[in-house]
Subunit: 513 residues, 2 copies
């Protein structure tokens, strides 16, 4: 293995040659061409060194005030802003996502906004939910867990990146060091971000090992890492298969593992809404379903409608719009394979092709915009197979026999990040809303009315989470501060502890400041 | 199988003959004699029926106001109070715990107090952590998860019973139906409590299936139950082996599972404290370690001291006191087997017997009060084996080579519910406190100063939880309201949902009432 042409890994505060057992390169998915930079696949020795450095950093971080952590997060956001053009250029090359507006005007500001919000959240001790029982002399507070490994996804190279995204920001803000695993489709983006992080670490005097970055890992090493006792928690966004392997390893050693896996995001469109505003809803659905080539965690992949002429017209119009829309770039070879396999599984389960389901007439990784249809009766027979995630620009419409069948169909949905109900504004769907919403509510993390699910506002009230298999635990959210920080904490109780030995957040009296 | 002499199970609002595949009886552990009542081991059909009834009850419960749930909890507490004498008589017979004061004056009032606290907590919507973002029109709130199965332990037949204890109260208060699995050592106590619950369910008009009770289950059926998709969550208090089997089943289907398993509850006694008040500390340790024959989750099983004459004197005095104290009753055959195996494992790992480690000279299930000693050097060599839980009246003293070795020893501790540090009142131990506490803090749910860990106050600030293997997730507590209720919830977000369709807790404006 020649090491001198390989990118270094960032361990214990230094960019150093990896203990490489292989290498890989990214591709430009818009063309399918290999990019020249080569990145290492690390041996366990690198992971081990990162875990040791993270444990030391955690010790040091615990002694640092919240304002130091906030200072780092703000400095990091500033450096990302300063390097925005270069970061977005690299990210566009590696992901096929448009540099502008998607990356430069939308995702990058969201990313730096999240980092700054996390900084602000870290400064307000209320996020720790301190509880002080003066009579019993018992106090409790949330405290950081320890080193967190973050495995980012392919679809948001900035806002969900392991070294800059929501999980990263939440873990750091809660006081934990992060070991970031770069996604193999955009290692150059990860490296650019990590360099900004390194500058901010140095500038603000954070412990070496507060942030570290590894590029490639053997699958078995990634799993071993998720179950390493030195870790506080793991966070992962990606496929169900990979997520479940990490979860199994973490579960055995009782480590929290936060997963965002598959979600088809059901949308129920009640008949009155279709009568009232079909054209509007077609617009909203096309925009939401094809945005980013459908590669959003909250992409509306499963649409429930009620049989009738209006539904046929709606689907015909939708197919026309899908046919007319350009086929976007998929995030890479793996993304294309996953999409195609997903579409094939849906067809094998009984879905009929209304449009697409064939290669796109363009270079690079792409597939034609695909609309599928299946009956409610068939959905009841093969509900699991018909919820196979076809991650990308594909949509399955399930046509219920009647309004009355809708709740029964929705009750067969697996756990999802979101669920939407469109109903008429004039109240004519109101009798159907309640049973439909009742079926959907326990199965989704976020219930929407008259609105498509893409667009995850960075709001303290947001839930970007949901029942399994959308995530691994329905109590927690990956977006929305301070709630997202609480994932990376343990409850710590102080019983009869002498006042001068209490952590700062517990020294104040209830109601005091 | 003759069914007419078997106790019935409580399913879907009716006490009915079990689909029995076997039966069992309890024993009086004070004498080892079998008790006459026979209880069924249920076939899966009973579990299936209970799951179906619980799912229906959950639907109905979601439509009920918090005051209905609170009314039920209060009515149930009143009925337990009214039947207190009979309940405690049965519990004493089945567990060997003294009817008075332990059961009648301590555990029963704690149990009804928990139920009433849970009722009060249910009435205050702040437990749901509602967050309202009016600008974005997004709101989130904690909502109940669905049916919860509670497997109670052997050691608190009332306060942690699956049908009356802390997990039960928290799950119900959060709006979930409970399927209670009776512990095989005290089925008659469970039945008496369930009869009180039944009266309260009827009196307050709760859905049939709000509370259900099963007695025996095949091991594989218990595991299958914990992984049933109709379940919202499982809660378990007991052995690590059983807990891990339930956890594995629940983890595969992504269901929250809350476990309280093993904990040896390290106590570090710094040399200054021993110089200052050895006699006081001996008193506290003997009381705490032998209370309830040491069968408390927070029993101080592992004592860390520093080598020296004072420590030798302390241990000699402790051994005298252990020898002089009566040997209490163990909770049954399984408890005795577990204790003896635990002591044997500690001896095999290098612990020296200072006293006990032999059968008790009395009838029934009992073992002599046991004190073991091992060096710090040996503890470092066999840390895992020397943390084998010997649940009962056994204590292992680890004698560090020096003050400086203490943090290194404590850093080898597994996750525990509690950790204590005794230090001199006059400050002479202060230089050692910080490194000792720093090693202990991330490894325990509750850190105590100058106080033994038994006695888990029902305080909103309590944490009865901790890192694995003490529990399965360090963010949550089993005692302390409202935090304990949050285990049985999912985060539910409402995005652009029309105002009249919002749950009650989200209709108010921020800061409004």
């Amino acid at each position: 293995m020649q090491h001198d042409d390989l990118a270094p890994v960032w361990i214990a505060g230094e960019w150093r040659a990896a203990a490489a057992i292989g290498s890989f390169n990214a591709e430009n998915p818009a063309t399918g061409e290999a990019l020249s930079a080569r990145y290492p696949v690390s041996d366990w020795a690198d992971i081990d060194a990162a875990l040791e450095a993270a444990a030391r950093a955690f010790d040091d971080l615990q002694a640092m005030p919240a304002r130091a952590i906030a200072g780092f997060l703000n400095a990091y956001a500033d450096r990302i802003d300063a390097e925005a053009a270069a970061i977005c250029e690299t990210a566009a090359e590696e992901t096929g996502l448009p540099a502008s507006p998607r990356l430069r005007e939308i995702e990058l500001p969201r990313t730096t906004g999240q980092l700054r919000q996390a900084a602000a959240a870290a400064l307000d001790p209320s996020w720790r939910l301190p509880v002080i029982d003066e009579a019993a002399n018992i106090r409790s507070v949330l405290e950081p867990l320890g080193p967190v490994v973050v495995f980012g996804p392919n679809n948001f190279p900035l806002a969900f990146n392991g070294v800059s995204g929501g999980d990263f920001a939440a873990a750091i803000a809660a006081g934990n060091p992060v070991i970031a695993k770069a996604h193999s489709t955009h290692p150059g983006t990860c490296r650019r971000l990590a360099e900004c992080a390194e500058g901010a670490v140095r500038e603000t005097g954070m412990p070496a090992g507060t942030v570290q970055m590894l590029f490639g890992l053997r699958r078995e090493d990634g799993v071993r890492l998720a179950g390493d006792p030195r870790l506080g928690a793991a966070a992962f966004t990606g496929s169900r298969t990979a997520g479940m392997a990490l979860k199994a390893a973490a579960d055995v050693v009782g480590k929290p593992v936060y997963l965002e896996m598959s979600s088809v995001n059901p949308v129920a469109i009640l008949p009155g809404a279709l009568e009232e505003r079909a054209a509007e809803i077609v617009d909203e659905l096309v925009t939401s379903a094809l945005m980013g080539t459908g590669q959003f965690c909250t992409n509306p992949g499963l649409i429930f409608l009620v049989r009738g002429a209006a539904t046929d017209t709606f689907l015909a119009e939708l197919a026309d719009r899908y046919n007319a829309a350009p086929c976007g770039t998929l995030l890479g070879k793996g993304a294309q394979r996953g999409l195609v396999e997903g579409i094939e599984a849906l067809i094998a389960a009984g879905a009929e092709v209304l449009c697409g389901a064939r290669p796109a007439a363009r270079p690079g990784y792409a597939w034609s915009n695909t609309l599928l249809r299946v009956s409610g009766a068939r959905f009841l027979e093969a509900a699991e197979a018909l919820q196979t995630e076809a991650f990308g620009n594909a949509t399955l419409a399930v046509v219920a026999e009647s309004r009355a069948q809708l709740p029964a169909l929705l009750a067969r949905c697996e756990g999802n990040l979101t669920g939407c109900v469109y109903s008429a504004r004039d109240g004519r769907d109101d009798a159907d809303y309640e049973p439909v919403a009742r079926a959907l509510r326990p199965r989704v993390g976020r219930l929407l009315n008259d609105k498509m699910p893409t667009g995850v506002a960075v709001s303290p009230a947001m839930n970007h989470g949901g029942p399994f298999p959308a995530t691994g635990h329905p109590h927690f959210t990956a977006v929305g501060l301070p709630a997202a920080m609480r994932r990376f904490t343990r409850l710590a109780c102080y019983d009869n502890v002498r006042p001068e030995r209490l952590p700062e957040a517990l020294r104040m009296r209830n109601g005091g400041g």
